[in-house]
Homo-oligomer: 272 residues x 2
Amino acid sequence: MTYSELSELIVRKQSYLCVGLDTDLQKLPHHLLTEPDPVFTFNKAIIDATADLAVAYKPNIAFYEAQGPRGWESLQKTLDYIPVDCFTIADAKRGDIGNTSGLYARTFFNPTAAGLNFDSVTVAPYMGADSVTPFLEYAGKWVILLALTSNSGSADFQRQAVGEQELYQVVIETAKRWAGPDRLMFVVGATQADELSRIREIAPDHFLLVPGVGAQGGSLADVSRHGLTAHGGLLVNASRSILYASNGLDFAEQARAEAKALQTEMAKYLNS
Amino acid sequence: MTYSELSELIVRKQSYLCVGLDTDLQKLPHHLLTEPDPVFTFNKAIIDATADLAVAYKPNIAFYEAQGPRGWESLQKTLDYIPVDCFTIADAKRGDIGNTSGLYARTFFNPTAAGLNFDSVTVAPYMGADSVTPFLEYAGKWVILLALTSNSGSADFQRQAVGEQELYQVVIETAKRWAGPDRLMFVVGATQADELSRIREIAPDHFLLVPGVGAQGGSLADVSRHGLTAHGGLLVNASRSILYASNGLDFAEQARAEAKALQTEMAKYLNS
């Protein structure tokens, strides 16, 4: 999906909602546990209930990997089921030396490898240029680079002073040399809304993937005020608050209600 | 495996060699490709040929993940086959917010999850304390934290000046507060041997996992001179130079010859 296609999708759906498919077998409604593949059955119902409200889906790979080979099968089926008018994100936070990052890129971008064909993957910046650029060798695919994350540990290194800047700003400035806003996004936690204005100064056109609304306590209003651009420029992720809105028979209906509430609020910000 | 068990193993085997099982289907000897699981058949032969010379094995997870579910099965079988007197490292470079890192820890450390029971996992530090500490909740298991990596991109962020130090030094100093040398190692590339003396000043007792000897050009002599301690303190990894010493019928024999040459050199440094 291109930059302009994603922007148009946001306008059409009046939404910049990303649904995080962090599907935890231990939190699923009990009536699904007798299904042959409970994780896929659950994801399918969540996707059916939210596909008109969301512009993106983001499975966090840890949740699938923790189930071993059958987790990867659930992931393949889930990805295949996501409608083509939704942007897909492998939230994998990978990064290794060049030839190894090339294999991770192959895993998530080349369907003949591991059966996966995501639009984008999240990448950790610590190992620098040659750990990131192999992901950019796939035409039309995106890198979403960790910049300023939503967790408390983000203070440990990301906010260390490097000259006049903080490390996460150096990461953004440096990565801008590797790809333009048409191939590169940044992860910025919703709990870091105060920093969004500074980030928009150095990355005015890049999409930002913003987790941390919902269970982690970030404010959609604050994120939208500081982060929205003329092209949208935001993908705001919610996972637990949507997936586990109910653990009864009505889980999909309640998930839709949560997603609808976020989308309605987003429509308001898009038009103000 | 405990710190003292690992130290004793190094003395007994007269080796601090780690064999990196970066098994690439595209580089395997042709005669193995008709096997039901060529990756496992290859690994089994490499392990048989090197188990008396190596103290550790390190599968890089990217190589298995890129094969999808069957790659995870090859990984499970390989890990089960590694003798109990060898330390095992999941080279995964994972790291996410706390609850998600907990799932990655479960993947590699809890055999009831993904069928894997590694002694240790490599972790990326960028997301800070709560992305690393979930891996430390498993008694007897180790975190091997990226500090100063072997690739050219290590200059981009790891060597940025943070106050009087470089970022990688801040990472080491900070992580020392999370666990002692009995649970925490650091990754330092063999191509960074000049920095090893400085690292030994701030981490005199920690084991260092040192990739980059062999195909990447690092010197075993330099690494050993600056990195060895009274307790060993080093695991030096070689992957491609051992695995692909030959791609003929004699691949295991040639792999052993490469491993033997490294072990012989290591015995000399251990006794000098």
